[in-house]
Point group: D4
């Protein structure tokens, strides 16, 4: 039995089929696996996004792939190429973060949107509800965006408050920021799911990437591709 | 100190402000409280939706409010009036249910959409992945909808499978259907949040109402109203 | 071995020692036990408060003790007599509730305060953050109270928002209102503990009684009694 | 899109509004972020408290800010300046710790009180209930304090015992001291919430800072400032 | 395949082998099963103890077995016959209960001890630590017992306090008394396991029977029987 | 929108495709839904098995379908017809139960096997490890079976012990028998998963049906049918 | 008291008794313990498998035992010798993995099968359901295997989908791949247990070894050995 | 406020009062704190036991205290002096361990017993139930011991099996050995609490020290000392 090379079966048609192409969750993969995937993308001339790239993997990727790959250390993302621009989605999304510790997750959402061809994403940080004036000052700006990605850890009160003030869809990204009962982000996640303001939706803890994908699926006119199965 | 009447402060302007009006979660409220709210709505000529109305409360509401209120026993909803029609949203939403036990939650989503003015919601039930052909036969129909509300209990595998096949936004509604480890719906919820297909978003367990609200917020052009705070 | 009567050892000196007398948690006790305690209090001419009295126990208590006992069905409290008035604490406490389903717990706090001699408690209900204007309209009134007991279920965002707006001590009472992830009140409790606004303190889920006791201990000049142990 | 500098929106008016100024939770922030906040405080001549400063961040802060910042390695706090003295609160607070492993959390409470202008805080350590005489010897001293901050890990029995002996408000700070079932502090937290002695309130696990803030809010005459929102 | 009668394989030799005979946990068994077991015991002239007998099963047992079976409604026990007296164990065990709601569990321990031949069990109820004087008054009496079975719900602080005061072995029986975080008894159980006083051992929640068995095994000289396996 | 009849999409080809036909989990379905499914099966002349049929549903099914349906009240199963006999599987499976409270789950496994055409299933009950001799006496019989379905609640020690003694595949069915920490069956489930004897596999709590299906899939020569998808 | 050497009591007869010999879980053991076990095996000329061998232990083992031991760094296995070939089991097992991060666990299953004498194991990686076509292309191949070991982390939807398509027994191996709610693998495990497709069985998280053992026990004709106890 | 030295209030009289002297849990304390306690003990000529001493602290203790302190690296204990011999307890205790990974916890129990004056402790390792013959061979030896401390991780089946075979009191010490569902030891703990054999008692996970203390309290004639409180 041989296993070399057999572990990879990339879903290159996912973008055509679902509107969002496959990306690579670097956490849990070896540097060797990441480099193999990166090389396959380069060879195929396909753009690809890596998320949750820690420092050692980032270094290995850059060493192997050179300037073909671009890192954002704070967002922990790496990108090869970029998807086609979607100018019709520009300016429709805001990313709001409760505290400065939420910055990496918020930036992951921004970088994902950019990689998928969306520009003019508003990034509004450090507007947690403990100082409510900070958010209220931004409400008029937020009300013009069709999607508001709200990023918060600790008790996640931001999700309900924002959703009670704006007409756009609020996509909650709970973060693992905090300690004690909120360690790991479960409290913020549950706050999003239990939000008293109707229509809040949630993604997994720290999943800025997923929120960006959902934003694009919510905004996008339907793709013309077809299910590979039917 | 008097408390009679003081316990109610309905947010009548929520629809204008956020695109989705306040509804009433009947569970946890006394029949007397529900009737008071119903009468206030009738007096104000405002439509209102009650969710999770159990049989005794339904009977009390009908007895008190007569034909001003309409019940759906399976969906456990009660409605007074209806919001303005939004024909531009007709035919854009599908509700997909994994098993026949998920019907009440799926119907709650359908009834909410109808109450909020949306028609032509596709309801596709009993297409759980154990018999995958049932879902694959419907994929082409699902691919024409901009929002797919997926309703599933037990292990919630439906969420990932649907999201890998359609371009629309998949809003997962985990249900409390099942026993043992899946009692209460937490497994289905976590499956939605951990879905390997990107862009799945989740609402609370059994929350068909919330999924319908999110669908409308995702589809709706921004409302012209303003935040009551600013 | 005889056990009749031996199961009761009431802490009659607790008020003198700690500023708050012993009360009786009815849940978990038999009607017979509750009546025995009630009779002991009447015989001793000592006021006593019963909390979480369900309907059958309430009926049994009234049948046994007649008009010596007073019930509040919504608050689920029963009282025999009343502690001395503490006029210096009048008007210092507000009880704020997020939704109308939180009324029983909020009223338990109010009834406890009244039983312990405190009047002019502000009760402000149905000001959940989904309609933030409802709370903001009341902020000036809340800012004059030294203690704000905040009562909320679901995601408990009210705790952080109130604590960011008022100078008084916010005592959070999470409630078991909600379903799915918030069933049982754990999410609201954790939101209180993880609140991003500093200085929020929490009591057990649905524990309006405990919040009222804490309010009195926070406000009260030290009692002159002594520890029974030293 | 530029993000440099945009991640910070400090709530400088929080003290005026709520009686307790914003502090900085260092855990989860980068050294660069902490230094930026420190410099902003120095420039504004505003006192600021950092909590949970680990050794590498402490070193970076001292290197960048020199003697403008003061560290307490055991309490893991760093301070720039100090709030105005509040002599009317001197001598009103005691901090009681169950075991010597609870010292860092207890000291965080003490340092917070000092930074906020309060002196003469009694610190009584290593009086866990396994050797009850240690606590009973101190009861008379504790009974003269209006606030008792009780700090305990493991089973947290200290909270109930202290609250049954003293008239002041007991603010429980559960700690993450212990292993096995008590790893993480959840048992001590739940013991505080479930305390059989009425009127105990709790803050998050290891949150000595929050307990100190609550103590000040409980003791403080109302501040004259106003809500920034209204 | 026939299953009638085949479901029972009583371990009649357990007492000889382990010092404690098999008893019957009624909860989860049908009335028919209980009666079958009772009849087998009567036929065999073997004493047997049923625990957790609810009212309908008690009624069915009495109806079927008449005065051969003896019920204790508070302890929820039923007994047929009694094991041989063990006078050498008389007066060596105390059962201490924190609150009057703990009485059923405490009585289950007492009834088990009596059924197994032990008399002069001290039952001391309602000595929770919120009123510590109640326990301290009894310490001298408790110090003469080689085993102290401590029964407590809520936060279970009694376990640590007792264990710090007496030389006997403290067997903690957590109870499901309480609400909110302590619903189900897990907090009291964890408090027993995390007790800061060394040497506390715990049995399952509400398991007064198991504590009594452990007491007998701790006190008993080794039985002369042999393992059925070897 | 019409929903009548649309909620059912039975997977009649599952048996051909996977070796085990679709069955109906009655819990969570209305009596009306169950009757509709039963009638569809009768009309189609297809055998069908219902599991977890409570008493009211059983009564409704019998009333509607008469002697076409057969109930087993202890096993809580109902059957219409029966699958073809599979004599090559006779005598290859044993079902072992730890205690008499596990009987309903054990019988669900037996009835499922019988419905699916398997006879001569050994049912060995009440052989929990507290009286190990009961199991050791049966080991030789168990060693002749290729599949041993082990059914146990509480601590589930039976799974490891059996698996260390027999060569057949041990399929563990944890049950919800027990109270306190083992309420709900999670402890028994985890014991199966953590078994120190290698090769134990587990199904969901109380899922006797699933264990029987797995037994058949493990024993069965591959079916000749084909995937409906490919 | 001497303890040297006394800590080891290897179950050398397990293979004869149960069909699967004892293996060594390296995690939690010291390098010294592993070497002692390895030397005992070599001396006894008995094959032995070590699982979960981390890098330092691997290095120590190789240094001590030289070429008598063989490592697979990705699978984290070490082997001394090999069990007898079982050609009748060749080609009957497939191992299917959802993502490339699941490779180490999938390989642990393959290496275990090989060590136990089984060849021609199909290893099919990276066929997660987000790109369903990848799995559907392999269904015909999978349908020829009597056992399908499915390895998946995150939401574990693969288990249900595979089980609905193939006639062989599906043994689910949940992995700890993922973050947020799926950290640790509990979601994937619960998805396996709650699978809507009947007959899925599960082993512990990341337990590729256990799945391989179960496969062999399911396929193997009964061993002729005997229980050591009877 | 000065805190130097104030953090220590050792309970030197605990042994006289409860039969077991205070010991020091090194985990969570700084090396400085440990050395201070060690010096106090030496100065007072009091024996003292440190548990859970990791390698750096061990090195610091030896460097500071020289040959006054004795380390056992496997048991992670350090001792200064030794309590008086209690020859009447010699030979009454056995420590049984399921697997070789449980050795450190089992040795902690042995070292604690020795430090407290007990000799001739039987240590029987690696007798997990997967190879039941290993335990059965030792049953006769175990049946002569009045206390059996059983140490097991994973599923903890050893507790029930041993308790069903021996007349002595079984004190279960669950260990954190294992991975997946048994990571952290909670499964083994719950198995002990849910044991189907009556009379098993449990201590905290990995708490060999506590089990040894309980053994001594169970065996010891009552101490003549008195409660410090009464």
């Amino acid at each position: 039995m041989s296993t070399s090379g057999d572990w990879l079966c990339f879903d290159w048609t996912r973008g055509e089929r679902t509107g969002v192409p496959e990306a690579v969750l670097a956490a849990g993969k070896s540097a060797g696996q990441l480099i193999t995937i990166g090389r396959a993308a380069i060879e195929r001339r396909a753009p690809v996004l890596f998320t949750r790239v820690d420092a050692p993997c980032a270094e290995a990727l850059v060493k192997a792939l050179g300037d073909r790959i671009h890192m954002d250390a704070t967002a922990r993302t790496a990108t090869i190429g970029r998807e086609c621009r979607r100018p019709e989605l520009d300016g429709q999304v805001a990313v709001v973060g409760a505290g400065s510790s939420d910055l990496p997750v918020a930036l992951e959402a921004v970088r994902t949107l950019e990689h998928l061809g969306v520009e003019d994403v508003a990034l509004i940080m450090d507007v947690g509800v403990a100082g409510l004036w900070r958010l209220l000052e931004r409400v008029d700006a937020l009300r013009t965006r069709r999607i508001v990605i709200a990023v918060a850890g600790m008790e996640g009160a931001l999700f309900s408050v924002v959703a009670g003030l704006v007409p756009g869809l609020v996509i909650a990204v709970p973060t693992s920021v905090g300690y004690g009962v909120c360690a790991g982000g479960q409290v913020a996640l549950n706050s999003a799911l239990a939000a008293c303001a109707p229509g809040v939706v949630a993604v997994n803890i720290d999943n800025g990437f997923g929120a960006a994908c959902a934003a694009i699926k919510a905004l996008n006119p339907l793709v013309k591709g077809k299910s590979t199965c039917s």
